[in-house]
């Protein structure tokens, strides 16, 4: 405990040096702005700005990208509450109730509650992260290939049911896994699916792929006019911070939702969107004003927003503790860690403890800064939303092309980015989850070598994996996660048929 506090204090000392502080402020500012512009998102900002972190030291680059992520948690909410245009899926539940409040003319207070909920969710998420990661890192040092295989399978199978269509989400995960197999095979060193392109012998470069999938695909969506520009009404852009006693009255909602979010976020692969839905529905069940939900009630803003913010930070628990990302942003961060020659997981605590504790300190600071910057940001975001569309999309296009080129100064990477832009466009067109694709792409290089190592250890007999109690249990959990919803669906269908026959 003493070591933890002293290391954390060391992180705070570093984060308050001018350059790190500037990165943190800039990151939150960019995250809130990107998050609040429909069509753009914090994850797109992270993808586009990864090339700018090449010249930064690893700690600064991680602090910068995490600050963008934290900023984005609130950014998507502002336009959701004001114009019913949520910036991302995480803030859709908040927008549901928030926009109803806007229609009643209560948007300033709804925005006030949203910003406090985001900061509170982040704070609880970070506290959970500090203790949870340390615990997980200690446990995971005893993990072998079977246990890691089981955990990776849990991350993948939990993602299957997060989308609206199970087949499409499964396809996205498998497509990501397939993409990860392109290049030299682990353990054997044989070329796979490179089709003579020497540039992809080490697999697809991560940066052009994520820029293509998240940013360029959105440019293609604009070009093909899949989405029409939303009309921006002239709603109030004021924020009215609720009084302390109003927050105290809602203390149950704050704590309940943040704990729900933290638990869901810490499960690999589930993420903040599920947490916001669970947070909202739980609150609806326990609230005294059940009948007011859907008509505009503050608890309906606080619950999903706190849960999603807490879950978003919670996704870093499996990332830092065992090196398995809990969501798409955590998956991108794995790529950033690898660019700087770092391997997330238990070893990070012994080899780069400074980075881990500065990251924790930056999250605490970001929760506070978000509160301050978020108060000032709403007006700017609305002004940016009214800028000519061509200016915003010129910015995205140039950043996408130059960002992928800057990676290794090869035109080949620009082609890869454009190709993945088209893939991302098709995915959006057919409703296939891009975060699931990225998770598959990141988890593939963890899953495959551990599967092969486990097979070698257990003489090519996968049934012997179950002789490892923890590893076997984890594999069984992943099978259960995959099969249970199918059985449950069939069972309820049969029950319905029986009742209609009667």
């Amino acid at each position: 405990m003493e070591t933890l506090i002293s290391e954390l204090l060391g992180g705070f000392v570093l984060i308050f040096t001018p350059m790190y502080l500037l990165c943190c402020i800039l990151g939150i500012l960019l995250g809130t702005l990107f998050g609040s512009i429909p069509g753009l998102s914090a994850i797109m900002a992270i993808s586009l700005l990864v090339p700018f972190t090449y010249t930064m030291d690893p700690i600064m680059s991680v602090v910068f990208l995490i600050s963008i992520f934290i900023g984005g948690l609130y950014g998507g909410t502002t336009t959701g509450i004001l114009f019913n245009i949520p910036g991302d899926s995480d803030s859709a539940m908040t927008a549901l109730e928030g926009y109803e409040l806007t229609k009643k003319g209560e948007s300033p207070k709804a925005l006030g509650f949203a910003i406090v909920s985001t900061a509170f969710g982040c704070l609880i998420g970070t506290i959970g992260l500090v203790f949870g990661t340390n615990l997980l890192a200690e446990i995971s040092s005893f993990f072998g290939p079977v246990e890691i295989l089981g955990l990776t399978l849990i991350a993948l199978t939990s993602m299957v049911y997060t989308g609206s269509n199970t087949s499409k989400t499964s396809f996205a995960i498998l497509f990501g896994l397939f993409l990860s197999t392109v290049g030299i095979a682990p353990l054997t060193g044989i070329d796979r699916f490179t089709f003579g392109f020497s540039e992809i012998q080490n697999g697809f470069d991560f940066v052009p792929v994520i820029i293509g999938l998240f940013a360029m695909s959105e440019v293609f969506v604009k070009v093909s006019n899949l989405k029409n520009s939303e009309n921006i009404n002239k709603n109030s852009t004021k924020i009215d911070l609720p009084k302390v006693r109003e927050h105290i009255r809602m203390r149950g909602t704050y704590f309940r939702s943040s704990l729900i979010g933290l638990l869901i976020g810490s499960l690999p692969g589930v993420g903040a969107t599920v947490a916001s839905v669970v947070g909202y529905t739980t609150e609806k069940k326990v609230s005294k004003q059940k009948d007011q939900f859907g008509k505009g009630v503050y608890d309906g803003v606080v619950a999903p927003q706190t849960a999603s913010s807490s879950a978003a930070v919670g996704t870093f628990i499996p990332l830092l503790g065992i090196g398995i990302p809990g969501g798409a942003v955590a998956a991108i961060l794995i790529g950033v860690f690898q660019i700087h020659g770092l391997q997330p997981g238990p070893l990070l605590f012994t080899q780069n403890s400074e980075l881990v504790y500065t990251l924790f300190a930056s999250l605490f600071l970001s929760a506070f800064l978000l509160f301050v910057i978020g108060m000032l940001e709403v007006k700017t975001a609305v002004k940016i939303m009214r800028l000519p569309q061509s200016l915003i999309w010129t910015f995205i296009t140039v950043f996408s092309i130059m960002g992928s080129y800057a990676n290794s100064h090869r035109l080949f990477d620009v082609w890869v980015m454009l190709l993945f832009g088209i893939i991302g466009y098709l995915a959006k067109k057919y409703g296939i989850s891009i975060p699931a694709m990225v998770l598959g792409l990141i988890l593939g290089p963890i899953l495959e070598p551990n599967l092969l190592r486990a097979l070698i250890i257990y003489e090519n007999n996968p049934f012997l994996f179950f002789t490892r109690p923890v590893g076997g249990a984890l594999i069984l959990i992943s099978i259960f996660l995959l099969v249970f919803p199918v059985i449950k669906g069939n069972w309820s269908k049969r029950k319905m048929n029986n009742s209609s026959a009667l």
């Binding site: 269509n165 197999t181 070009v223 620009v414 067109k429």
Partner: protein
């Protein structure tokens, strides 16, 4: 139309890749076991999804196809170079997004895009390939 193409194209590509993977698994199972499992599962989920899919109307326009062709072609030509290809794409975007095109807006976008490219050149020390019009 695109739906019908995808209904045949995607399973065909997957079948070809699975075939490639399966034929090579005999010689080197360690390298091709994982891709084969993934491809077979992909094929199954793909059939499941295509069988249950309904006709979707997303208000799609076909103008992405010529834009994508021009874009890929520009980046393939060595003498055009990355800078001009980027500016060309920005012009196409401007024409598509602002229906009533104005010279001043177009010029503004080109200058803005060039400034962003210069920013990249300075901040990330990006050097452009020899033979491009940038140099």
């Amino acid at each position: 139309m695109s739906k019908h193409v995808s209904k045949f194209l995607l399973p065909t590509i997957l079948l070809v890749l699975t075939g490639v993977s399966v034929t090579r698994i005999v010689n080197d199972w360690q390298a091709f076991l994982f891709p084969t499992i993934v491809l077979v599962l992909m094929l199954l989920t793909c059939f499941g999804w295509l069988n249950n899919s309904e006709t979707e109307n997303n208000g799609e326009s076909l103008r992405l196809i010529p834009v994508a062709v021009i874009l890929f072609y520009c980046f393939l030509l060595p003498f055009i170079g990355i800078w001009l290809a980027t500016i060309l794409f920005v012009v196409i975007l401007q024409v598509i997004l602002d229906r009533r095109i104005k010279g001043i807006k177009l010029g503004g976008s080109i200058i803005f895009a060039s400034l962003l490219i210069i920013l990249f050149e300075r901040v990330l020390a990006v050097t452009f390939p020899v033979g491009s019009l940038w140099i």
